[in-house]
């Protein structure tokens, strides 16, 4: 009877994961979907604690003190960390939690390996692979986390690909030896662990910091697979379905994220234009002349406009200028100017970055236009103000088949009457390429840090 309840709990858990993921992929139901999955997870955890029994000995679990101790500590720390983290450091946090999951899978395999009971070949495969993938995911996530919060700098390691290849080969050889039972020396097993950790680190190290969201999504699906191996080991349906679902959904999500940036996964992993090269590709072309505009002129132009569109980019996030931006919007609206925001899907450094950022500053949701809508009404805008965006307004994506970003849909700002670009210099953005837009006749440059410029602009506007 009790084991029937356990299995029903597991089935319900699996179902909530499917439904939760489904709901998470639609804007209206996303939040509820997350809660549905969380409820299923809670059920599965408590059912395991109280109802699980060893299939051979029929013993229940013991060590309740340790288990609840761990659960409580993890819950408190996890909740606090998740509640305190800044919106813009979310990907960092996700990476950290992902690493925890990987480490958990690694530890499970380690303990199972140490158990004296003889293991079948199938069990050995599962233990070794679970440990291997869990470790890669753990190590990789830690590096990704370090990169995102700036502790680890981007660096190309000479011969990284060759080293990775060797590490990978080494892991395979050791894994075959351990699984095949050619040796029972436990150090071989620990050797795999060491190689996997090194591989995880070297795999993520050369990838540009800005590509981390994609990498985290990939590591996410690795951890899913590691969890699934646990499902094999304990013949546990909820671990199996949950793990594999995340493994496959995560892989698709990774590909979708790459597509939104118009790049291939391979291109991201080899890092053809990560943070590293930024700033070097400029100057391929003869630079034209650009014209500057003063703060005062900008203020006048905007005050007498009927419609203004603001296009935020990565620079706005770096400058933490979202509140100043909202300030500007309010001042303009008071003057009867209609203000909207044009949001490019990959503006910033994580998907939805701009939405989250502007939501934080209480910008009304209906002012945020998705790219297509923004482009549709671009022709009726008097002034377009570009705040720290670059690649997402680069006309080369439309005109220049040789450009690395060719094919990416962009915000077509040149349809508007005036284009004002705020950035600190003429340096390129994330893709490291020159932007023709800055030299076009309609464009005027307004140099300076986004936050400072916005604050001055608001002050000027109040006087107009």
């Amino acid at each position: 009877m009790e084991s029937t309840i356990l299995l029903l709990s597991y089935l319900i858990g699996s179902i909530t994961f499917i439904i939760g993921l489904k709901m998470l992929s639609h804007p209206e139901t996303a939040r509820k979907g997350n809660l549905v999955a969380a409820a299923g997870m809670t059920l599965a955890i408590f059912a395991t604690i109280f109802l699980w029994e060893n299939p051979n000995t029929h013993e229940r679990l013991h060590n309740y003190g340790w288990i609840f101790g761990g659960l409580i500590i993890g819950t408190i720390v996890g909740t606090m960390a998740a509640k305190k983290v800044q919106m813009t450091s979310m990907p960092e946090m996700v990476s950290l939690f992902n690493g925890m999951g990987g480490a958990c899978a690694m530890l499970i395999s380690l303990i199972e390996y140490r158990k004296p009971e003889a293991k079948s070949m199938g069990e050995m495969i599962v233990v070794v692979l679970g440990m291997l993938i869990g470790t890669v995911s753990f190590a990789g996530s830690m590096v990704a986390w370090g990169k995102l919060n700036g502790r680890i700098k981007d660096r190309t390691i000479p011969g990284a690909q060759a080293i990775n290849f060797l590490l990978f080969g080494g892991m395979i050889v050791l894994a075959i030896m351990v699984i095949g039972g050619f040796t029972s020396n436990p150090y071989l097993f620990y050797g795999i662990l060491a190689l996997a950790a090194a591989y995880g680190i070297l795999f993520v190290m050369p990838i540009g910091g800005a590509d981390m969201p994609v990498v985290i999504s990939l590591l996410n699906s690795f951890t899913g697979c590691a969890a699934a191996f646990g499902g094999f080991l304990y013949d546990n349906p909820v671990m199996l379905t949950g793990g594999i679902l995340v493994g496959s959904a995560g892989t698709i999500l990774t590909i979708l994220m790459c597509k939104a940036m118009n790049r291939s996964l391979k291109n991201v992993l080899i890092g053809s234009f990560g943070g590293q090269k930024a700033g070097t590709a400029a100057g391929d072309k003869e630079q034209g002349a650009y014209k500057e505009i003063s703060l005062n002129d900008t203020a006048v132009l905007m005050a007498y406009a009927q419609k203004v569109m603001i296009i935020p980019g990565y620079g706005l996030a770096v400058a933490q200028a979202q509140h100043a931006c909202h300030e500007l919007e309010k001042v303009l609206e008071e003057k009867g100017v209609e203000v909207s925001y044009g949001i490019h899907p990959v503006a910033g450094r994580m998907p939805g970055h701009m939405n989250v950022l502007l939501a934080e500053a209480d910008v009304p949701y209906e002012k945020l236009l998705e790219m297509e809508d923004a482009n549709d009404q671009m022709a009726s805008e008097n002034v377009v103000l570009i705040l720290g965006a670059n690649d997402v307004v680069n006309p080369a994506a439309k005109d220049d088949p040789a450009s690395p970003i060719f094919g990416m849909p962009i915000l077509e700002v040149e349809k508007a009457e005036h284009v004002i670009v705020n950035k600190r210099s003429m340096k390129p953005g994330y893709a490291g390429i020159e932007n023709e837009l800055f030299f076009r006749p309609k464009t005027s440059m307004l140099f300076g840090d986004a936050k400072k410029v916005l604050q001055s602009l608001v002050a000027e506007l109040k006087q107009v």
Partner: protein, 107 residues
């Protein structure tokens, strides 16, 4: 080799393999049409779901002998890390989505 192929013939395993295949397809189908604004929350939600590995940690922990201190410690660590993954993952996802939905309602 025989031991290896037996992994496939054993009635139990082929069912597991079927489950794996179905889950893979289901994962792909479920995600395939997600708008890009939801990429980050979805990644984060999926991250919380693979925290289901915690169940393995609980099983390992709950079976450890009372005097096997190494196993107890490692198991305890596994439970803590797994819980972090689950709880942190769901809470952080909820916070992200709150950002979107709060604004949407005022619409």
């Amino acid at each position: 080799m025989d031991q290896f192929t037996s992994i496939f013939t054993d009635a139990a395993s082929y069912r597991l393999i079927t489950i794996v295949i179905l889950s893979i397809f289901l994962g792909i189908e479920v995600i395939s049409r997600v708008p890009s604004v939801l990429h980050t929350p979805l990644m984060s939600g999926a991250n919380a779901i693979h925290g289901v590995v915690i169940i393995g940690a609980i099983i390992v922990m709950g079976q450890a002998g009372a005097d096997d201190y190494l196993a107890l410690m490692l198991g305890f660590l596994a439970v803590v890390l797994g819980t972090l993954n689950v709880v942190g993952g769901f809470v952080v996802t909820d916070r992200m989505l709150e950002m979107f939905s709060k604004k949407k309602k005022t619409k």
